[in-house]
């Protein structure tokens, strides 16, 4: 199905999120949509999928004006969208989700739905078991389920918003193969991303948005990477020199920040058994592995938010195996979760209020003027685009992330960071890491989990690989390559690096 967008405009208050956008996407192709965070990509896709209503302009599907006033209308017109975060019913099974969210004309009965799901699973090499409760599926499997549901509903235009965030390499391969097959059948795929290599790998054309406007329309791929970066970011996007992770200072005599003795940690079905390691001061440790292999368990264990089943945990040489989270905080350990708005910061509160909440020395009465001054200093120092009185929820992702960093205590000795640059653009991500490396230079040990090989290899001093409930020993990063890392994550040659007794 051909998609033509003419002069589409959408404003939020004074912000022109989409400003007279005109683009056209030919059937049977994969079209990349590039842009930095806040460029208006998601807004445009939500207008097409009926999740948002346009202010003006029109959309033509195969030359006919389409009314896309809600998601059901878009679906009936043949447009379906897979969201960045799965939008489904966690309490239902995969089959129930598949069935209940489809019109009866597409799936008349549960038996037909089961048959169709099995068939689609086979067709695309997906791995969604119909009767699994949704909570047991990985993000990647939930995304597969959503794609199959949209196909069963008969969509001709499939929109994917940052589909490779949080899924495994194998799932990504399966996804890309499926998308290529779909376009061979005449479907139109719109692939929203800020990952240039994926767009280069997959797309036939690419369109670039910046600040709500089209700055590159249906450019045929391949395009030089430098050119795309320039369009996305203006001058700031010139490619950075690949930076070399500095070797850790490694003062041999110093007490390690964390020491783990034969620790077993478990949550639900997932467990990491018999872990013994020691994380020295002033280094960056990258955690890699398939989605949900235990990286988050280790992060939360080190933060004191999850207690081990067995074993002993020392923090700066003190036994904290059973200590509460507050004791970890008091010892300078901070945990920054992947989902900022869920448990990272309080969206409705301002930076000033956050500084008041985290200040260590305070009396009974709050000193707002003082905190405002601090907030102004932090805003200048961390280059946060906000005022001291802006609620954090209305900041862009990169600015929220910088605000979280600004809230870290100066005495922070151990920093646990889940997906530090998830869904941030290149420039924002670089700025975050500049801050983190600054902390490392001051002696902070940073442990982070990421699904991005480039990030892991560029910034880690040491790597820990998680595979099938086992953890490697600490691997020095400079001797590692992306290809080798991919093998280890997939279990190839894992025995050679597995920790003793692991």
């Amino acid at each position: 199905m051909d998609v033509q967008i003419r002069n589409l405009t959408k404003t939020f208050g004074s912000l022109r999120a989409n400003d007279a956008i005109s683009l056209s996407f030919a059937a049977g192709n994969i079209h990349g949509i590039l842009g930095e965070n806040g460029a208006g990509k998601s807004t445009l896709m939500k207008l097409l999928a009926g999740f948002l209503q346009r202010d003006s302009g029109e959309v033509l599907l195969d030359g006919q004006p389409a009314s896309l006033h809600n998601p059901a209308a878009s679906l009936a017109a043949g447009v379906g969208m897979v969201h960045q975060d799965p939008m489904d019913v966690p309490a239902f099974s995969a089959l129930e989700n598949f069935f209940c969210a489809s019109p009866r004309s597409a799936l008349p009965s549960l038996a037909v739905a089961r048959q169709r799901l099995t068939q689609l699973n086979q067709q695309f090499g997906f791995t969604v078991a119909p009767d699994q409760p949704l909570a047991r599926l990985t993000v990647g499997q939930r995304q597969q389920l959503e794609i199959m549901r949209l196909l069963a509903c008969g969509v001709k235009v499939l929109i994917l918003d940052e589909p490779t965030t949080g899924i495994t390499a194998a799932q990504k391969t399966a996804l890309f193969a499926a998308l290529r097959r779909l376009t061979a059948q005449g479907e139109t795929v719109l692939f929203v991303s800020h990952k240039l290599d994926e767009v280069a790998d997959l797309c036939q054309t690419v369109s670039i948005l910046r600040s709500g406007r089209v700055v590159g329309a249906q450019l045929p791929m391949p395009q030089p990477q430098a050119e795309l970066l320039k369009l996305m970011f203006g001058q700031a996007g010139a490619p950075a020199p690949p930076r070399q992770a500095a070797a850790p200072p490694a003062p041999a005599s110093a007490v390690p920040v964390w020491q783990l003795h034969q620790i077993t940690v478990r949550e639900g079905a997932l467990s990491v058994p018999n872990l013994t390691l020691s994380l020295p001061r002033g280094c960056v440790v990258g955690l890699c592995g398939l989605d949900g292999s235990g990286q988050q368990l280790l992060l939360r264990l080190l933060a004191g938010r999850l207690h081990p089943e067995r074993g002993r945990l020392l923090l700066h040489g003190t036994d904290v195996t059973r200590a509460p989270y507050r004791a970890f905080r008091a010892a300078g350990v901070e945990y920054l979760p992947a989902d900022r708005m869920h448990d990272g910061v309080i969206g409705a509160m301002t930076l000033t209020e956050h500084l008041l909440l985290t200040s260590e020395q305070h009396g009974l009465i709050i000193n707002r003027a003082d905190a405002r001054t601090q907030a102004e200093t932090a805003i200048a120092a961390y280059n946060i685009k906000a005022t001291p009185d802006t609620p954090l929820v209305s900041l862009s992702g990169g600015n929220q992330q910088r605000a979280m960093l600004a809230l870290l205590s100066a005495e922070c000795t151990g920093l646990l960071f889940d997906q530090p640059t998830r869904s941030l653009d290149v420039v924002s991500a670089r700025a975050i890491w500049q801050r983190l490396l600054h902390r490392r230079a001051a002696g902070t040990t940073i442990v982070f989990a990421s699904a991005d090989f480039d990030e892991l290899l560029a910034y880690s001093d040491l790597l820990l690989v998680f595979f099938a409930g086992r953890v490697s020993r600490l691997l020095p990063c400079p001797t590692m390559t992306a290809a080798r890392l991919a093998e280890l994550i997939g279990g190839v040659g894992f025995a050679e690096v597995a920790a003793h007794g692991g």
Binding site: G13, R329, M341
Partner: protein
């Protein structure tokens, strides 16, 4: 879904200082909201009145002005406003902590029951000492009853709404048992309550009217303390943080669960105080309907002001005046006074609708 546009907002588009925003934006919004609230409420209540065959204008005149007819009705207004203020102040605490303390009725009742204990056991103490004991006992009773809600919520994850409603029934059961059992009037048990206290133990009133000045004074102090705590202290900021996002507040080092507990305790203490005032200054006995629905009325007040402590006082006075004014309805028009409840409830409903409309636009 709804927060996506905001998380993607371009920083340059951010409005300048909050103070400026607070002044510039609401002007138009306020008019729309006020239109929806007043228009909707009048329309709905008028329909109810017409359906019952009453002249709406006359009914409104009585409801709006009935409380200000003479010193006696004004005294009644103040004596209703005092416990309503205490409960509203308490609920402002729990709303800020993100809790729906529907158990407030039970907390008033248990406050009243415990306030009776020193009055019955030690009637020979000097009255000021007894009043202090009764008020403290009431506050402690309400607090303990509220802490039960907290324990159920934090240890066994029972939702505070259900825990509170359940405890309301138990509290009323306890009252009925006492009124008809151990504390019944000599000879005959009656729905009209226990034997009235000796007049020496009543809170002193102004000459000739039923206004005990101590009640509104206590209520105003209670409200002032809550306002100060929520807007000026670290404790209040932490309560609000826990209410907005419990997980994030914990991560930032706020003892969030303790703050939930403390907000419930504070609310229970204020409700218990209100219950003790109902005994000492209004009914002078334990009656089955000792709370008189003041807790639920306070829920409406707080829903309307959205836990903004500044507006609690005027709205509480307004709601109390509806209740007092409507007492004239059966006397003069022969219709039931419950129309005040319709008016109060409709007002809150349309306020919530206006808010929803504003949130969408």
């Amino acid at each position: 879904m709804a927060d996506k546009p905001t998380t993607e907002a371009v920083p340059e588009a951010l409005p300048a200082p909050a103070a400026l925003r607070a002044l510039a934006l609401p002007a138009a919004h306020l008019l729309t909201s006020a239109g929806i609230i007043i228009g909707g409420t009048l329309l709905f209540t008028t329909l109810v009145l017409l359906a019952s065959g009453t002249s709406p204008l006359e009914a409104y005149r009585l409801i709006l002005s009935g409380a200000f007819r003479n010193p006696r009705t004004i005294a009644d207004l103040i004596m209703l406003t005092a416990p309503l203020l205490l409960c509203s102040a308490g609920l402002t605490l729990t709303f800020s902590a993100g809790l729906y303390n529907l158990g407030i009725e039970g907390q008033i009742v248990i406050g009243a029951v415990l306030a009776m204990v020193p009055l019955r056991l030690l009637p020979d103490l000097p009255p000021p000492m007894l009043w202090l004991l009764a008020l403290s006992a009431g506050a402690i009773g309400g607090m303990l009853w509220a802490l039960l809600v907290g324990v159920l919520r934090l240890s066994t994850n029972v939702n505070e709404i259900f825990a509170g409603l359940g405890l309301n029934f138990i509290a009323i059961g306890i009252t009925l048992y006492l009124v008809f059992g151990p504390w019944k009037r000599p000879g005959v048990a009656s729905m009209s309550g226990t034997e009235p206290l000796p007049e020496a133990l009543w809170l002193p009133t102004l000459a000739g009217i039923r206004l005990a000045p101590l009640a509104p004074i206590i209520a105003l102090i209670g409200m002032g303390v809550v306002w100060f705590a929520l807007t000026r202290t670290h404790w209040g900021l932490e309560i609000r943080a826990a209410g907005l996002n419990l997980a994030a507040a914990e991560r930032l080092g706020v003892p969030a669960h303790a703050r939930l507990f403390q907000s419930l305790a504070g609310c229970g203490a204020l409700a218990g105080l209100a219950g003790a005032l109902q005994i000492l200054a209004v009914y002078h006995a334990l009656i089955p309907n000792i709370s008189s629905g003041i807790g639920f009325l306070a829920l409406l007040v707080v829903l309307l002001v959205r836990s903004n402590p500044v507006w609690v006082l005027p709205v509480a006075i307004l709601f109390a005046s509806f209740s007092i004014g409507s007492i004239q309805l059966p006397l003069q028009l022969g219709i039931d006074s419950s129309i005040a409840g319709v008016l109060q409830g409709t007002l809150v409903l349309f306020a919530l609708i206006a808010q929803g409309v504003r949130g969408r636009g």
